[in-house]
């Protein structure tokens, strides 16, 4: 014979326990009251992408070479790149326009994964609300560019790995360059230099989609 309402009384016991324990046990009151205290963001957290630069000047130290790999890999196609040109109309390996529409971006990190120059990384800032939902959420190159120190600040582990990788790559490139120079010197001893150097063909950019608001 069971008491009528036993299950209800048990349930009420649970809620009473939760009520009282919420006054002295932290795990029973996990609320973080946002504007005053902010939840600690762990270093692996990702939000929208940003561009990295080395050194002090954002434009000069820009790692991005406008290869448009990220633009092509972006599933919602929120990246928009136009290559820079010098006075002669020759393409330079850096973007003149690099826009990310954060109202479209879905923070999937695919752009980071495809980037061969370690130039684009995920930010972890989350207070991005804006009064203008069209221009305000469309981040341009200047807004996207952030120094390497910032990257070290938000994702220390990842940034260290990236730096190591880049250093290794640079060392490798240096070694290769040295080897090439050595070979060139050796070759120069044997043969006269070739008269004409072939310029690499510049790839024509496909027509860009309209960037209307």
């Amino acid at each position: 014979m069971s008491l009528i309402g036993k299950g209800i009384l048990k349930g009420m016991g649970v809620t009473a326990k939760n009520f009282f324990q919420s006054y002295y046990r932290k795990e029973r009151l996990p609320t973080v009251e946002y504007p005053e205290e902010k939840a600690t963001i762990n270093q692996f957290s990702r939000n929208f992408p940003f561009l990295l630069y080395d050194g002090d000047d954002p434009v000069d130290g820009m790692r991005c070479t406008a290869c448009t790999l990220c633009e092509r890999a972006c599933p919602p196609q929120c990246i928009y790149i136009i290559k820079d040109k010098d006075e002669n109309g020759k393409a330079i390996l850096s973007p003149r326009i690099f826009d990310i529409d954060t109202s479209v971006c879905m923070s999937c990190q695919l752009c980071v994964e495809v980037c061969p120059y370690e130039a684009i990384r995920m930010d972890s800032a989350f207070e991005l609300s804006n009064e203008n939902r069209f221009e305000g959420l469309l981040l341009n190159r200047e807004e996207l560019l952030k120094p390497n120190a910032y990257y070290h600040e938000i994702h220390p582990l990842e940034a260290r790995e990236t730096d190591d990788r880049m250093a290794a790559k640079a060392a490798l490139a240096e070694a290769k360059k040295k080897a090439r120079q050595k070979r060139a010197r050796l070759a120069a001893k044997n043969k006269p230099p070739p008269g004409l150097k072939k310029t690499p063909p510049t790839r024509k950019k496909p027509p860009q989609r309209e960037k209307s608001e």
Binding site: M1, I4, I8, G11, M12, V14, T15, A16, N18, F19, S22, Y23, R28, L29, P30, T31, E33
Partner: protein, 407 residues
């Protein structure tokens, strides 16, 4: 000595009235105002406080901090809400019955406020000291139903109509166990006068004897809830009161997960606030009559009177909030079945038990009656309850389910 607070209040009232001693008409008006205005204001204040209490209590039950932005501990939150409600647009559906849509909140407030007037808040603090106050209270509280029907029907919204239908069905069904459980008390007190019912809940031979211990317990042990029939009656009364006040788990008329907000769906702004306040105040009124009938009214040791009444009222409300934070809602047919097939027979049985107890008390004294009541009377109620619940349940529910775990 004990009723110091109440006596002072009564004295204050007399002192104010004395200013108008030479103008009989004015004095009458002032007297009426003194009877009603403090009552209305204090219950509105209590409503504001209770919304805060409810939100805070529910939040703590749910492991949240609750409102804590406006004022200390969020105590000013109800005021902020009130201002917001006042400033909001009052939206009336185009095809609604405009007159009734307008009148419904008022119709809900009036009986709630009158009902509060029948409560004996303390020694001499009684706005409407009628001889048949308790039956009047139940009569007035049945008017809530009409207001809810008006709100539900006039909105011309299907959810509102469903809510209104549910409310009417539920309120008239639960009125019966509510009144029947009160009948036992009225029978034992031998009066429909609320003050007399309160007075019957002290052990009068102990109270006023001068012995501190006797004084102390004489004001507690006489409460009806400590008697077997009173305890059972209190449980039935409390359940029926929850249903009557549309509180969880009987909040079907405004079941948000089923019919949006029932009869409140099409209300906004100030009218919504008034409806909301009306519901809370009628819940107060029912809790207050529960305190009067079963929890000894304003009786209590040390500082008898208004403070005890307020304390008991808020304790009852705290239990209501606790229940609201725990239980899911019943279904509409189960709700009606529960009232008619379970509460109603038990409440009638309880009336017989009360008579039986009364007879025993007369014949052999309180001790024997208590013993017999708790042992046999309460046992009989338990048996009846179990039998009824067995009868009403379908056999598949009765057995505890076992689940196979297979590879």
């Amino acid at each position: 000595m004990n009723n110091y607070f109440d006596l002072k209040l009564v004295e204050l009232g007399r002192w104010i009235e004395a200013f108008f001693a030479h103008y009989p008409t004015l004095k009458l008006v002032v007297h009426l105002l003194l009877c009603t205005l403090p009552l209305a204001l204090s219950f509105m204040g209590a409503f504001a406080f209770t919304t805060w209490l409810e939100r805070k209590g529910l939040a703590r039950i749910q492991n949240r901090p609750g409102p804590n932005r406006v004022g200390l501990f969020g105590l000013l939150q109800p005021i902020a809400d009130g201002i917001k409600m006042l400033l909001k647009e009052d939206i009336v559906p185009e095809r609604s019955d405009k007159l009734f849509h307008f009148l419904a909140p008022i119709m809900l407030m009036i009986p709630a406020m009158i009902g509060v007037g029948f409560l004996p808040l303390g020694d001499g603090l009684h706005a409407l000291p009628l001889d048949s106050a308790i039956i009047f209270f139940f009569a007035i509280s049945s008017l809530n139903t009409i207001a809810v029907f008006m709100a539900g029907w006039s909105s011309r919204n299907k959810y509102s109509l469903l809510g209104g239908m549910r409310a009417v069905a539920q309120m008239i069904s639960y009125e019966i166990p509510l009144v029947l459980s009160a009948v036992a008390v009225i029978m034992m007190a031998g009066s429909l006068n609320a003050q007399e019912v309160v007075a019957s809940q002290q052990i009068s031979s102990w109270v006023g004897s001068g012995n501190i211990l006797q004084e102390f317990f004489g004001r507690i042990l006489g409460w009806n809830v400590f008697k077997p029939w009173g305890f059972a009656g209190f449980i039935f009364f409390f359940i029926a009161a929850l249903a009557e006040a549309n509180r969880s788990p009987f909040d079907l008329p405004e079941a948000d997960s089923e019919i949006i907000a029932g009869h409140l769906t099409e209300y906004s702004g100030f009218k919504y606030a008034i409806l909301f306040m009306g519901e809370y105040i009628s819940a107060f009124a029912i809790a207050g009559i529960g305190v009067t009938l079963f929890l000894g009214g304003w009786n209590g040791p040390v500082f008898a009177g208004l403070p005890w009444f307020v304390l008991k009222l808020f304790s009852l409300f705290a239990v209501m909030i606790w229940i609201r934070g725990t239980l899911p809602r019943l279904r509409v047919d189960q709700l009606m079945g529960y009232a008619w097939k379970f509460l109603f027979p038990l409440a009638i049985l309880n009336i017989f038990l009360a008579g039986f107890y009364h007879f025993l008390e007369r014949q052999w004294g309180t001790a024997i009656a208590m013993l017999a009541g708790w042992l046999f009377g309460f046992g009989a109620l338990q048996l009846a309850a179990i039998a009824l619940s067995r009868l009403n349940q379908s056999p598949t529910i009765r057995s505890k389910r076992v689940y196979q775990l297979v590879e």
